[in-house]
Amino acid sequence: MSGNLLEVKAVRMHFPIHGGVLFRRIATVYAVDGVSFNVKPGETVGVVGESGCGKSTLGKTILRLYDPTGGEVLFEGKDLAKMGRRELREVRKDIQIIFQDPYESLNQTHTVGRIIQEPFVIHGVGTKEWRREEAKKLLKRVGLPESAFDRFPHEFSGGQRQRIGIARSIALKPKLVICDEPVSALDVSIQSQVLNLLLDLQREMGMAYIFIAHDLAVVKHVSDRIAVMYLGKIVEFAAAEDLYKAPRHPYTQALISAIPVPDPTRDLSTKQVLEGDVPSPRNPPSGCSFRTRCRFATERCAKEEPTLADAPNASKGHLVACHYADRLDEALKERAKT
């Protein structure tokens, strides 16, 4: 084994759109289209991208809530997509998810106590008393009073509910937690509390996170490495530091320049604004999927799809999918010619 906890290899998730009288496939949503990356034990990999670029789908596909159209998801070396029911059930103790909307992800008809004990019940862990005790400990651990046990989710605020969801997801001491925009539904004042809770838990329990967000500023705080997604593909993947300091992909550059930072040393001339809409994942552009909004795009970009590869002259492990990653000025020149 390569020392990776999770290896995602060329994963594709295409949703067929059916319609018409005969219920034929009339279109395909290329929600995730060939994504590869890996996660090491205990690290946090951030995934950023605009709304609709397939982040949640990627998370759900890794969990095999969807059956991937193609590719492999290896967890500790074993392909999740090929696992049988029983094997999958075992692995699910080790991979958990925290959803964006804490109103939606908790069953409103269950008490908080029941919600937190659910992982134990499903996997038949412990006795009744043990589960109750453990659930109470978990409540305390995520900063909720024991009295929450017999109450119902919607007696709590958004932040508190997210804590309930977190308590549930760490109950079985997983090795990997997929956090799908865990704070973006929360008030700004509460966001950092929840983020800190997640970081503390990671330090204590040593689990890895895949941290999904549409906001680079949030991801940068918590992540060791960051994947930038655009239209179902990873366009840049690098250590957080590298990505932030030396972004190579025009899309990443635009995202970073959009972060409002009062940093007088930053060169304002590189400030870029993303124009236009994200193309529909039903009908992605040919060649480089970013070319419709890329200010460097050339003819080559429309014909040839760039692959995610080591960026030239960059630190090790800095991957980028752009024909002109190292020489964007050349692209500009070429553009000027035509």
Binding site: L106, T109, I122
Partner: protein, 350 residues
């Protein structure tokens, strides 16, 4: 945990239901009427409630028949308690008979020489709502007809919902080919003219309570199936279900622990309407003569008699008034339930 705590949403719904007064009171009234109708033998019956004869008490209401000889009469068939009462009174020997307030059953023809039924309501004879064209007590037929109709509707509802919830849930949850298959079946089913089928069946054989129910069940399961399919489909893609799946929960666990509890309000909302439609369908079939076999007391049959004997207005007015009262109250309950359980009113994002 001694009591199962009701979640506040459900509590709120129940509270809202109780605050809609006319629905709430209609529900209480209907529940009382249904419960009372199960003990109808105590109120409307040709058998006496209590007979005191030679120092001993007899309670003939339930149980096997007491032959006339029990009370020193000269016949071995069932005692005629109304006559017995008159006899005891005339004798004045301390024997007595306590009759129900309406001392007739739904099947007997109360015929007196020289008087041709239907007879008008008359408190003296105990025919509170008169008799029908064969001399049967209208009140008795109304009460027992109500019981038949309600029992029929409730049983039909239980069967319909059991099938509907099972298939609908499976369709919505498992989707795919299974779903498509049943969708097509339902489309075909829904286009079969239900009344014709019943009329055809009724002209081949005389339907009884159960065959009639089977025929209605044959068509009735569709509605709930369809609603449950949609509801399940919606719940299934919600994140709390995804969370359960991600935890490794099995399909039955998710269906029974998560989806059904969250679709229960749909089931509850449709109940009153199913009951009223059950009553209406049964009554119309009886009215047309395709319903329950002849002597069974039923509102449809009464309605038919009433409309063909319009000079005996008490028949038609009793059944029409009862029908209107029942349907109005069921509608009030249905309205209130819908109002109280409407999910759109409850999704509060504070």
């Amino acid at each position: 945990m001694t009591t199962l705590p009701l979640d506040p949403l459900t509590r709120k719904k129940i509270h809202r239901f109780r605050s809609i007064k006319r629905g709430y009171y209609s529900a209480i009234f209907l529940a009382a009427a249904i419960l009372l109708s199960f003990g109808a033998e105590l109120f409307v019956n040709s058998r006496a409630l209590i007979v005191r004869y030679e120092g001993r008490f007899h309670f003939p209401t339930y149980g096997s028949i007491l032959p006339g000889t029990t009370f020193g009469l000269d016949y071995r068939y069932e005692t005629k308690y109304r006559e017995l009462k008159r006899k005891f009174k005339a004798e004045g020997r301390g024997n007595w008979v306590l009759l129900p307030p309406a001392p007739y059953n739904a099947y007997e023809n109360d015929l007196t020489e020289g008087i041709y039924p239907p007879t008008a309501p008359d408190a003296g004879s105990g025919h509170w709502l008169g008799t029908d064209s064969t001399g049967r007590d209208v009140l008795a037929r109304l009460v027992y007809g109500f019981r038949t109709a309600i029992v029929f509707s409730i049983l039909l509802l239980l069967c319909n919902y059991t099938i509907g919830v099972t298939i609908g849930c499976a369709m919505g949850y498992f989707g795919g080919k299974f779903d498509l298959f049943f969708q097509r079946i339902i489309e075909i089913w829904a286009n079969v003219p239900f009344l014709y089928i019943i009329i055809i069946v009724a002209s081949i054989m005389i339907p009884n309570f159960f065959t009639l129910m089977m025929i209605m069940l044959f068509f009735g399961w569709i509605q709930m199936t369809w609603y449950m399919r949609t509801a399940t489909y919606k719940q299934k893609s919600r994140e709390y279900v995804l969370a359960a799946r991600a935890m490794g929960a099995s399909d039955p666990y998710i269906i029974f622990q998560h989806i059904i509890p969250n679709t229960i309000s749909i089931i509850v909302t449709f109940m009153p309407f199913s009951i009223s439609s059950g009553v209406v369908v049964l009554t119309s079939l009886d009215y047309l003569g395709f319903g329950l076999p002849a002597p069974t007391p039923s509102w449809g049959e009464l309605l038919r008699q009433g409309t063909s004997n319009l000079d005996a207005l008490w028949i038609v007015s009793s059944v029409v008034v009862s029908m209107i009262l029942l349907l109005t109250m069921v509608t009030f309950v249905g309205e209130a339930v819908r109002e109280a359980f409407d999910p759109k009113k409850h999704t509060v994002y504070e």
